[in-house]
Structures are given as C-alpha cells and as structure tokens.
C-alpha cells in the first residue's frame, strides 16, 4: 500500500462569523478558492497532477451548495481536469476530507489530492441545511436528539466539570492562542484573504479575546438553559442518562467554539507524486479512522475514536507527542483529558476553537496544519488530531513527521 504524505497545508485566517466579521463580504466560493490557489501558487503545482479536490462543508445551501469543491477548484484555476467533491460529516468534515484524500492515494488509485474544507458561517447560517436527524420524529426521538450545547452541558454534568472548570479551560485556550500568534506559530500556514486588487481583507484570527479571564467569563450567562428547560431537551438528556438529576448548564459563548468564517486545504500525495512535483514531504498520514458514539451525549466521540485508532495503529496514548482535540466546547476537551489522563500541556498547545473559532467544515483540515506546524516547531514526531461530531461520531488521524 502506498503511503500518503502531507506536502503542504494552508488556511485562511478566521473571521468573526457575523455580519460585522471581516470575511462576511467574502463568498464561500472565494474563501475556498483562495486556499486552493495558495496551495497551487506557493508550491508551483503542475495542477495536471492533481487527481481530486475533497472539501468538507456542513451547511451546503445557497452559495455553498451544489458541490462547492468543484466550483472552488475551477475558480482557483486548477484547470478543467481537476474534479471536486464536497463531503459532510459535520464538524469533522475537514479532517475527513484530508483522510479521504489520503485514502485515495493509499489505495493507489490517485497520486495527488487535496483535502480541505470551507464554511462561511456568517453567510450561510448554522443549521440552515435542515435535515432529518433533528426534525424527523422517526430519528430525532430514538436518537434522543438535542442541540450540541445541551449535550456539552450534559458531559459537564455527568463527568463532573464545574462552571469554573470549563471557564478556566477557556481562559487557557485564549492565553495559548495569543501566545501562539505572538510567536508567529501559524505563519507558515495562514494565508491572508485578499480582495481583487490584492489588498488584504484579513490576516489574523479575529475572534480571539486574549484578555478573557475568570471574572469576565463569570459574567456570561449560560447559553443553553432556556433551550434545555423550555425546549424539553434537558428532559431528553436526563432520560438518556437518568443518573443525572438536573443538567448543569455551564457553557456560554466564552467557553464554546467561536462562530467564524474560514477555509483550509492540505496537499496530499504519494512519494512518487512528490518527486514528480519536486516537493518534500512534511509528514506521513500514519493512520485514521471513524467511529459512531452514543448520539445523545454526542460529543464524546474523540475518546471512542482515539481508543479505536490507537488500537488499530498498534500504539498507546504515550506514543503521541501532541494532540489537537477540537474545542467545540470546553467540556469536550476536559472529558478527553479525563478519559486518557494525558498531560494538558500536550493537548491544544496553541489554543483552539474557543479562542480562534470553528468554521465547521474547515476546522479538521486547519487542525492538521496546526499539529504539523507545532510538531515541526518543537521537533516532535507524532500528533493525533480528533474532533467530536454531531449525531455522535468521532474522526481521528495520526500524522508523523518524516
């Protein structure tokens, strides 16, 4: 089986996902095309070698619908011969896109592929795609559907994370992100978004609140209390986990992932393809896998999938130097830390989505680049990237430097 190597990775800065966000004026197409174009240009790619472009995108309606990957590939000037496919595994779409792109190479069917993702949350609202899972009684009821925030609060309640615990985690995420930006740890990867004239629209993650502290977070009201109590979702949570007397609503805007706009792309290829293009591989895709986890609590998939992946790869938790665990909500990462008892310093050392934001379909690919940059910076070898996923799933990937 051929190995799949990472030759390069780029991402946009993350714009605040609101009408006043810097990237609100940039269409989903341009966000995605910008990352693809950056990969092409900075690697001087012969795009005839690219066999496929796989992009994660979660809400695919309107401008992001109808296979945004093909549209972006064309708009990026990759040429008519480069196809594209859009995939959706909710929050892990970007990582799955990297995995699928790697799988094409590992299977020997493709030589060079791009995996990435895009989400303009300011332009295409979260949940605007609809779908059976939250709505159709035939699945919503048996799957104990509840909004992710309520599931995150359920994790905190069941596993004993207090409001202080989640707030402290959030403060640390902000601190680490600020430090990482200050030291330029993302500079290899972040490609500013520019207008038609080449003028920079955004060159940094603008969601960050480096001055956040326990006091400022304490003033925020929990976001999911009303939904839980009046929407009936607390009752759903309790019926699935009856050991819980009442849901402790601890999450709010300050300790949950930020709503942002952004895109990312990772260039994957075989050893052969790299040679042909004159590129040096930065890392190898060591292993990846997916799992379905209990859908009500929903966001514990990183624990399950990490166990599965380590077993599959014949590794133990101690073999991993660095973890990127998506900060969908603080309790998700706290549960990961609790389950594996790993050194918190090894997990999300550059901060995460609480500070910098979580552009749904793109985040997975962004985390691959963050892990890779950090391995190179610290001279470490192996990283594991994982995300929790709607409806109870997990995706994880192990990369190692070559």
């Amino acid at each position: 089986m051929p190995d799949a190597f990472i030759y390069d990775a780029v991402r946009t800065p993350r714009g605040r996902g609101k009408e006043d966000g810097s990237l609100h004026e940039v269409s989903t197409l341009q966000l995605a095309a910008g990352s693809l174009r950056a990969l092409k240009e900075r690697n001087r790619l012969d795009t005839k070698l690219i066999d496929d472009v796989i992009l994660g995108c979660v809400d695919t309606v309107g401008e992001s619908g109808s296979d945004i990957a093909r549209a972006a590939a064309l708009a990026a000037g990759l040429g008519d011969q480069v196809p594209g496919v859009q995939i959706n595994r909710f929050c892990a779409s970007g990582l799955d896109a990297v995995n699928f792109a790697s799988a094409q190479v590992m299977s020997g069917q493709h030589e060079m592929t791009i995996g990435g993702g895009v989400e303009s949350m300011s332009r295409v609202g979260m949940g605007s795609e609809g779908g059976a899972w939250p709505v159709d009684p035939s699945i919503a009821i048996p799957a104990y559907f509840m909004p992710q925030g309520v599931s995150a609060d359920l994790i905190a309640t069941k596993y004993g994370f207090s409001r202080d615990d989640v707030d402290a985690y959030a403060v640390e995420s902000q601190k680490r992100a600020a430090q990482a930006w200050k030291e330029g740890r993302f500079s290899k990867t972040v490609v500013p978004v520019r207008d038609v004239n080449g003028v920079t629209i955004l060159d940094h993650d603008e969601h960050m609140r480096p001055d956040a502290n326990m006091q400022s977070l304490a003033s925020l009201k929990p976001s999911f209390t009303m939904m839980g109590e009046q929407g009936g979702f607390d009752a759903v949570a309790i019926q699935r986990y009856p050991e819980v007397e009442a849901i402790n609503h601890v999450h709010h805007a300050g300790n949950s992932s930020g709503i942002v706009d952004g895109a990312a792309a990772v260039l994957i290829g075989s050893a052969e393809a790299g040679k042909k293009s004159g590129l040096k591989p930065r890392a190898k895709i060591r292993a990846f896998c997916n799992i379905g986890s209990e859908p009500a609590i929903m966001l514990t998939g990183p624990v399950d999938v990490t166990k599965k992946l380590l077993a599959k790869a014949g590794m133990s938790i101690g073999d991993i130097d660095l973890f990127e665990v998506n900060e969908a909500f603080a309790s998700v990462v706290l549960r990961f830390l609790q389950a594996f008892d790993v050194d918190p310093a090894k997990v999300n050392p550059c901060g995460g989505a609480i500070a910098m934001g979580h552009p749904l379909g793109a985040t997975g690919a962004m985390l691959v680049s963050t892990a890779l940059d950090e391995l190179e910076r610290t001279g470490k070898q192996t990283a594991l990237v994982t995300l929790c996923i709607g409806a109870g799933m997990g995706t994880a990937t192990i990369i190692e430097r070559v």
Binding site: G127, V135, I141, Y144, P242
Partner: protein
C-alpha cells in the same frame, strides 16, 4: 336510498338536511354500517343535480362521541387471527382497508363536488369531530354541552380519519400538536378562536346558519384542495420549522417518556403529512393508524381506561336486586384532611353533608377546606359564586352527633386508632340506629374487626379514599367478612354519586392499592441501598411509567409514617416480613437524621424555601456506596418497578382480595398511577404473557430476593399460558 341511521330531507332550495340519528342507541357512533350509508349518500348527492348541498346534523343530544371502541379493542387479536387464516400480506391489506375506511369516506364527502356543512349540537369527539372536519363549513351550537375534540390519545389511539392532517392545516403546528397530544375537548368559543370551526350560533339556529352558508354560495372545496394553499406554519424545512420540530420531538419525550406510541405516531403523521398533498397525507395517516390499532398499548388502554372503567362506574360490582339507595344526606365524622375532602366531594355532588368533629372549631376548620377548594374553582372561572354559596350551604359543620339524624350513610375518617373508631361507631349508631350503613375510611385497620363494634356488622363497610380526595378518582370499597349486599350497594351508589370509580376488595392488610404502592416504595429503598444513584431511581421510575418517583412519593406520604408501618408490620407479621436493608434505611432517615419528608422540609429531598426540591446530597454517604451508573441495567430497573407491583397484584387475586382483573387494572391506574400504557398491574402481566412474566419474576428473585416470587396460582397459569382475563374475566358486564 335506504337509510337506517340518517334522515335525508331535501328542502325546496335543494339543500339536504342529513340528520344522524342511530336507532336504538343513546349516542351516534361510527361503525362499518354507518360508513356504507355515508358512501351511498355521497354517491347520491354528487349525482343528483337537484341537490345543492348537505347540512349534516344530529338528531340526538350529542353530535357523535366517536367510533365504537369495543370494536377497536379487539383489533390486534382480529388481525392475528386473519394472519393465521390468510397470511401476513393479505391480512395486512384487509386490515389497512378497514383502518382507512372512515378516512376514505370522509375524504369522499370533502371532494364530492357539493358543499357540506356540519351543524354541531352537543359533543363531537374523535371520529365524530373528524367527519365535521371533512365538511366544508362547521357551525357549533353556543351552549354548555357542545364541545369538539380528538380524545383518541387517551385510550392509546390517535385520530386516524383525517384528524392528524386537517388539524395542522387549520392551526399553527405547535397549537395543532398540543391539541392532538392532549386530547382535551374545546368549547365553541375556543374552537372558533383557533380556527377549527367557522361559526358559533344559538342552538336553535345552527341548521339555518349552515343552510344559509350553502345557499350563499359556500364553496365545495377544502382550503387544502385550493391551488395556492399554504399550511399555517409554512414549510417544515424553513427557519420556522426548525424552531418548531426539534422541541416538539423533545417535548414528546418529556411528556410521555416515549411510552405512548400513539402520541409518537401523531408526530410522524403531522411531520410526514405536511410535506405531502392531502390525499397522500391521509394515506400515510392510515398506515400509522393501522399500526397503532394493532398495538398492545391501544388494546390495554381501551380495555382498562375506557371499557372496564365505564363498566365499574356503571356498577359492574353492584349486587343485583338491591334497590337504588336515595343518598340525600351524608354524615362525615372527622373533619381532618380526609374527612374535609370527603365532605367537599359529597357536597359538590349535590348531597347534604353533616361534618362532625370533636369541637365546633375543628368542624369549622374542616368546612373551610371546602370553601378554599370551591373558591379556587370560582377564581379559575370553573364555578360561579352561586355554586359556591349553594355548596357551602349544604355542609353543616357540627360537634353534635345528634345532627347526624336523618343521614342515609355515614363515613368516618377519624384518627387511625381502633379505640377512637369504636367510640365513633357507637356514638353514631346511638343516633342513627343499626340500619344506616356505616363506612370507615380506614387505610390500615381491618374492616372485619372494626365491624365487630357495629350493632349489625352486615351494615358496616370500608370506603377507602385516596389523598387528596378532590383529585383522586379511585375509591376502594372494602368488604368485611360479614358486610352485606345492602352496605355494598349503598357504598357503590355513594361512589357513583360523587363521580369516582369504585373497586370492591376483600378485607386484608393494606387492601389492594396500598399493598402495591408499598412494594413500589420499598423497591426504591432497596435500590438506594444497592448503590443505585438516587436520581437514577427517581428518573427511571418515571421512565417506567410511574407518575412520581418512589423517594418523592415517600417524602409526600412521610417517612416517619413508613417507619411506623415497618414497626407495625414486624409486630403483626414477624421479623421476616420486613427487609432489613429497608428497615435500616428508614431507621437512619427517621431516627438518626430526623428526615420525615416534605412535612418537615427534609426527606430524601431537601425542600429549600421558595426553591425547587433537590435530592438530599447526604444520601450517598448514608448508603455508603454508589454503583457506576454506566454499569446499571436501566431496562431491568424499570422492570423491577413494575414487576414488583404486578406480582403483588397477582397475589391479591390469588388470595381472593381482588376478584376481578378489571378492578386490579383500573384501581392501579387511578389509585397509584401505575403505568397507564400497560393497562394496569394485571394487564401488564397478561400482555407480557404469564409465562414470560413468571420467567421474569424468577430471574428477579434470583438476583434481588423473594419479593418477586410469583404466587402458585400464577405459576400454574403460566404452565398453560392462561391469562388473568382468560381465567377471571368474562364476569357480568355492566349491570
């Protein structure tokens, strides 16, 4: 046309008045023959060019209370027989045709090309309301008896003749779902306000108004058959739909614990149906209806909550030949919480009450309870000021036993002490003599021994009320060894007067209901001692179908009372009658911790002033261990809660305490809220199958102890797969 159930009268303008009046029946009901006639009428009306339109009205006091449920109860069994005879596929098709018959006929009315208007006087419920929804215009009589509604969910069914489709095409989805979920009928004004009907008119004018609408050019097209029809809440996949549906699914689970498939089917019908043209939507509704009609929940709920309850209310257990007693004046002795409640419900029913206590102040305090209850009703607009005055004037509070003179029945609710009760009986009989029936509202003392204090024990009976009396629908009538037919007939007539449901049980410790409830609470105690997290005990009990968790319930009835019962049980029945783990728990709670329950603000829960009750955090430490919740089998906890009560109910039948499975079932649902979707304690066993139930009991006995050991009777029945209703049912139907 040869019509039996309708009068068909065409006026000079060509408008037909179709008067629904089924011969020999007190009420119009929907049955197969009626559908045939409606089919013929629709054929005729659509073909006859001289007919301009049809006004459908009723010749009876009510419009129609729905389908014949007796027919529906047997649907599941009928289907099973058909499968045996003709195979699965053929049987299902045939069954679907039957299930969809009403829906198809109603749809023919709606699309026959001539306008139909319904003039509704009296209740129009279930299918009786659905037929009017298929009419193009609805006029309701503006009177107190007229109500419209779709109460099918209350007996495990759902409106399967277009109700789930037409309602959400008339009202916003959240309102429609609430209306369908709850099944409560609406008065004319509310129905009009919510767009379910077009007009409300004085009773005498409804037919004229309906005719006027037709003559005025009323259109023979339902709104949803118009080209540009939009449902009131718009498309499901829209921002509005996203606000409505995820919470609707969650609230379904919150309210039903997912135990009621009919309610879930309503959600599915509305969700799927609103995305379809109405004909296909009705077809989807029929598919789900056929499924729900065959469900055991529907069969169980129809039997217990409709048929059996109706039979018991109508006096199924009343001795034949006993003349009806005239109950005009009732004596209630003891004006405490129970006695005051009994006085209230009696006066509410229109009888005079003499409420006696040891002094006037105590008696007055008892009467004040009635004042408070009726005043609350007045405040809510459910009664008028005049009703209150009349009710209070019927209650005479007194400390003088001589005021009992002229009473037709006496109910005592004095302190639970043999001596006090004996004294009461004696004093009352001194005034009334031996022939007036004397009833005791005891919940703990054997009736036979109390009866021995009466001059004529045959006129002594137990009438056991549940607390709070004004809310609880069940009354247990307890037969002492010598209690005679007259006493039983009088007690049953009294219960009927106050509009409660009676079950008749023989004298035994705890009678029926409290024996089962005691088992339920004890199971909660024992789970706690095993280390099951307290919240899990409470939540799983409710998920099993019980209205209140066992620890909450114990807090309500008071833990110190449980402590006294434990002591008394040991004294009367010996040490082995009480589980030592349970005794230790209660002792610690009551003696060491002084946690008595809600009454002193601390029990298994803490009751912060003005705040929500919360499980006492000290419980885990008190028990000393807690199991990992992820290792606990929740399904088994649910089984334990229901099985421990059901096996106790089986014992009461084996012992001859309860003699009729209908009473065990109805009594369990009304008396202590036993999972209504099961049909009650005995139906729970019967629908599971006695063999499977005995196997379950054996498994639970091996793991948890002898309280699950089934009585020999049940073991014998299991050998041949006999059911309780098979063995003990088939008694005299309603007298």
């Amino acid at each position: 046309m040869n019509l039996t159930n309708f009068k068909f009268e065409k006026d000079s303008d060509g408008v037909v008045t179709l008067t629904w009046d089924m011969p020999g029946k007190p009420m119009n009901v929907l049955d197969a023959q009626l559908m045939d006639e409606l089919d013929a009428i629709v054929d005729h009306v659509s073909k006859d060019e001289t007919i301009k339109g049809v006004v459908l009205t009723s010749g009876k006091d009510a419009f129609c209370a729905g389908a014949d449920l007796t027919m529906m109860e047997g649907a599941g069994k009928q289907f099973a027989d058909a499968v045996k005879a003709r195979g699965e596929e053929a049987a299902m098709k045939e069954f679907m045709d039957q299930a969809g018959r009403g829906s198809k006929v109603f749809r023919r009315i709606e699309t026959c090309g001539k306008p139909w208007a319904a003039a509704v006087n009296g209740v129009a419920l279930g299918g009786g309301f659905e037929i009017t929804l298929a009419c193009h215009y609805r006029v309701l009589a503006d009177n107190a008896k007229t109500q419209v509604g779709l109460p099918e969910v209350k007996v495990g069914l759902f409106p399967g003749a277009g109700g789930t489709q037409r309602i959400p095409r008339l009202m916003a989805t959240p309102d429609a779902l609430q209306f369908l979920f709850k099944g409560d009928p609406w008065k004319p004004a509310k129905a009009k306000q919510m767009n379910l009907v077009h007009e409300v008119a004085p009773e005498g004018e409804i037919v004229a108004k309906a005719k006027a609408w037709i003559k005025g050019g009323g259109k023979a097209v339902a709104p949803w058959d118009e080209k540009n029809f939009k449902t009131p809440s718009g498309k499901i996949f829209s921002p509005m739909g996203m606000m409505i549906w995820p919470p609707a699914n969650a609230i379904y689970r919150k309210e039903t614990f997912d135990n009621y498939p009919a309610v879930k089917a309503i959600l599915k019908c509305v969700y799927e149906g609103l995305q379809l043209p109405v004909d296909q939507a009705l077809q989807v509704e029929t598919r789900y209806f056929a499924q729900i009609m065959r469900s055991k929940e529907a069969a169980a709920m129809i039997r217990s909550l409709f048929l059996s309850m109706g039979e018991l209310n109508k006096g199924a257990r009343r001795p034949k030949g006993e003349p009806k007693t005239a109950l005009k004046k009732i004596g209630v002795i003891g004006a405490g919480f129970m006695g005051a409640g009994i006085a209230y419900v009696t006066a509410l029913a229109g009888a005079d009450v003499v409420l006696i206590d040891r002094d006037q102040a105590a008696a007055d305090k008892g009467k004040a309870h009635s004042d408070a209850l009726i005043s609350a009703r007045v405040a809510k607009g459910r009664a008028k000021e005049a009703d209150k005055t009349a009710l209070l004037s019927r209650i005479k509070a007194s400390a003088d036993y001589n005021d009992l003179s002229g009473c037709d029945l006496v109910v005592e609710a004095v302190f639970e002490d043999r001596g006090v009760k004996a004294e009461t009986t004696k004093k009352a009989q001194a005034v009334l003599g031996p022939d007036v029936v004397f009833a005791s509202n005891t919940s703990t003392l054997p009736i036979t021994s109390l009866a021995s204090e009466a001059i004529k024990p045959e006129n002594f009976i137990g009438i056991h009320f549940f607390s709070p009396v004004d809310k609880m629908l069940l009354v247990e009538i307890i037969m002492g060894e010598k209690t005679g037919d007259k006493a039983l007939a009088t007690a049953l007539d009294f219960v009927r007067l106050i509009k409660k449901t009676p079950i008749v049980v023989n004298d035994t410790r705890g009678f029926y209901a409290n024996r089962c409830v005691g088992r339920y609470i004890a199971e909660g105690h024992l789970m706690l001692m095993e280390g099951v997290p307290p919240a899990m005990i409470e939540n799983v009990a409710r998920m099993a179908g019980m209205p209140v968790g066992p620890l909450s319930l114990n807090d309500e009835v008071a833990i110190d009372l449980s402590w006294r019962v434990v002591q008394a049980t040991k004294k009367d029945l010996g040490e082995q009658a009480v589980d030592p783990a349970q005794e230790e728990l209660i002792r610690t709670m009551v003696v060491d911790q002084e946690r008595f329950g809600r009454k002193n603000g601390k029990g298994f829960y803490d009751y912060p002033q003005g705040g929500k009750k919360k499980l006492w955090p000290g419980l885990t430490a008190l028990v000393g261990k807690q199991l990992d919740p992820d290792t606990i089998d929740v399904a088994e906890l649910k089984q334990r809660f229901l099985a421990v009560q059901a096996v106790e109910a089986a014992r009461t039948i084996a012992e001859g305490v309860v003699t009729d499975p209908r009473e065990a079932d109805v009594g369990s649902i009304l008396g202590f809220g036993f999972a209504p979707f099961t049909g009650g304690t005995i139906s729970y066993i019967d629908f599971m199958g006695t063999k499977a139930f005995v196997e379950l009991c054996d498994r639970l006995t091996a793991k948890y102890g002898d309280r699950f050991v089934p009585p020999p009777l049940l073991r014998d029945m299991a050998k041949t797969g006999q059911t309780f209703y098979g063995k003990f049912g088939g008694k005299a139907k309603a007298a």
